[in-house]
Amino acid sequence: MKNTAKKIYIALIFLFLYAPIATLMVLSFNASKTRAKWGGFTFKWYTQLIQNDDILKALGNTLLIALLSSVIATVIGTVACIAMNHMKKRTRTVMMGITNIPMLNADIVTGISLMLLFISFGLRFGFGTILLAHITFNIPYVILSVMPRMKQLNPSIYEAALDLGASPFNAFRRVVFPDLLPGILSGFLMAFTMSLDDFIITHFTKGAGVDTLSTKIYTEVRKGIKPEMYALSTIIFLSVLVLLLLVNAAPDKQDPRADKKQASRF
């Protein structure tokens, strides 16, 4: 009895959580254009979607920005972690606090302030400004996932590598980097995901004529919801889901002790 109640309770939670997305997915296969009735199963909207050049271009932009911004943010974030690790404890705590604030900041505030910053520097809005904005909000996520790894690191291993004849660069590359890798990877994946599904910051920092998927969907939806958008949203949902699963799995494979805090933030 008690167990059945438990199961029903869990089922209800999942139902409420996933019903909207499930509806969306189902509708993306609905042959009828209205949302009200089921007109049979079809891939029509998916094929129309792939033939839509605007959407494909936006997809290309999204992926390119996500990839570039997360790679660059990963490099900057990792280097920042190395530097912070060598700071005195108090300075480091202050620095960690400063890097954490942008994550807690409302996206709209980040978006508007970046926009104002770009205007005051006289930058031309477009692909470049979106990329800069994405790098900026991605760096804290990388630091957040690399730093715990950094702290777990036995400081002697770097010295041991030097002691055995490795140059400082080689010691980092062959000994420190492999130990940080799980953190760096999950930081990269997290940054990639954040970039992929960002709308608000992109909305404020993009110029006319450049769109990512999220801003494209936004403009399309304003003109009236087309079923292609269901198909597109389904694809985005599934790819983000896969990425999230990867983020969760990456540190575990390397080190079962690594905490899962980072992933549970979503």
Partner: protein, 357 residues
């Protein structure tokens, strides 16, 4: 003594304004087992780090085989270090760990394979090539750390409290292992520890340090039997340190009673400290003792009984295999050659004296 290999010249080092080493001078000879012994914060690890190249002295120089290596980075020094927490590379297997230094020196595959076999044999861990460091026990990891260091054929092996994380039984086994390895390799070992038993068991030479100064340098026997000051006497083993007066050569007044001793050259009626090891205090019948007293505490320690005897206003620590129950009246007797006379520190500051050799 064999040839001088390392010379530390007037080394001073401070961290954040705190003096850790003050004008330290030390000579290490070829094929010597030198132990830097002292309480934590005495500067022993800093000395080792300066030798390894991980710290640069504020003043002074490090001379290795006639060459000044003070500013040489660690990767170019002909020494290798065994770190306190092993510092094995966890993402590499045992063979890769051991091969690390050899690969950097671009040795041939055959040479590396030979060396791995040899090193694993030396540390008694044959067949462990493909294991990961995490799957090894603490003692085994420590042996791998040693193997990884010695395959590079360093002229000096630096060991930073390598047995600190092991349990007592394993620690004692590893002490014998280390002595055997050192004899087999024929290289210099510089060993850092705060454990006086480790130091006494393994070393050719012990360097007792405190507060950045060298307190005494000598063989284990001389450090134990002839401590030069109260710090050394107190730090190495248990001891009775008693204020006394040197009446004349070979005669000392301890607690108002005259004891014969063998030391000379301290002058007449001069205040000194005497050290008497607890196992050198003999408990006899009250009539035969130089002093008489009463047993106040008794603990069984396994090999011996540890007793405290109140005699002449001083609580004497006594180790003996013969039991004297609490409350028994006893006589205290000490053989003249078991009384070690030390100069009193002239002021509080000079309790830690710098010694040049």
């Amino acid at each position: 003594m064999s040839k001088e290999l390392i010379h530390l010249n007037n080394i001073s080092k401070s961290f954040d304004g705190q003096m850790v080493l003050d004008e330290l001078n030390l000579t290490i000879h070829e094929n010597e087992f030198v132990t830097l012994l002292g309480p934590s914060g005495c500067g022993k690890t800093t000395t080792l780090r300066i030798l390894g190249g991980f710290a640069t002295p504020d003043t002074g120089s490090v001379i290795f085989d006639g060459r000044d290596i003070t500013n040489l980075p660690p990767n170019l020094r002909p020494l290798n270090t065994v770190f306190q927490k092993y510092a094995l590379f966890t993402h590499m297997n045992i063979a890769e760990n051991i091969a690390f230094g050899l690969k950097i020196r671009k040795k041939s595959k055959d040479y590396i394979a030979d060396k791995i076999r040899y090193a694993l044999k030396l540390v008694n861990l044959e067949g462990y090539e493909n294991r990961m460091p995490d799957s090894l026990s603490g003692g085994q990891q420590q042996r791998i750390a040693i193997a990884r260091a010695i395959v590079n054929e360093p002229r000096v092996l630096l060991l930073d409290e390598p047995l600190g994380a092991l349990d007592l039984k394993l620690r004692q086994e590893m002490q014998y292992e280390l002595i055997r390895m050192k004899n087999e390799l024929g290289i210099t070992f510089v060993y850092v520890t705060h454990d006086q038993e480790e130091a006494l068991t393994m070393s050719d030479t012990i360097v007792v340090m405190n507060q950045g100064y060298i307190q005494q340098i000598g063989s284990p026997e001389s450090i134990y039997n002839e401590p030069e000051n109260a710090f050394v006497a107190d730090f190495i083993g248990d001891s009775n340190i008693i204020p006394a007066t040197m009446i004349e050569d070979k005669l000392v007044s301890i607690l108002g009673t005259r004891f014969a001793c063998v030391d000379t050259g301290f002058g007449h009626n001069k205040p000194v400290d005497v050290v008497i090891r607890p196992e050198d205090v003999e408990l006899v019948a009250p009539a035969q003792g130089t002093l008489t007293g009463e047993v106040t505490h008794l603990i069984f320690k396994g090999v011996h009984y540890e007793m405290e005897v109140m005699a002449g206003g001083f609580e004497w620590l006594v180790h003996s295999t013969v039991l004297h129950p609490v409350g028994e009246k006893v006589g205290v007797r000490v053989d003249p050659y078991n009384i070690q006379i030390m100069n009193k520190p002239e002021s509080e500051d000079e309790e830690a004296v710098a010694i040049d050799i």
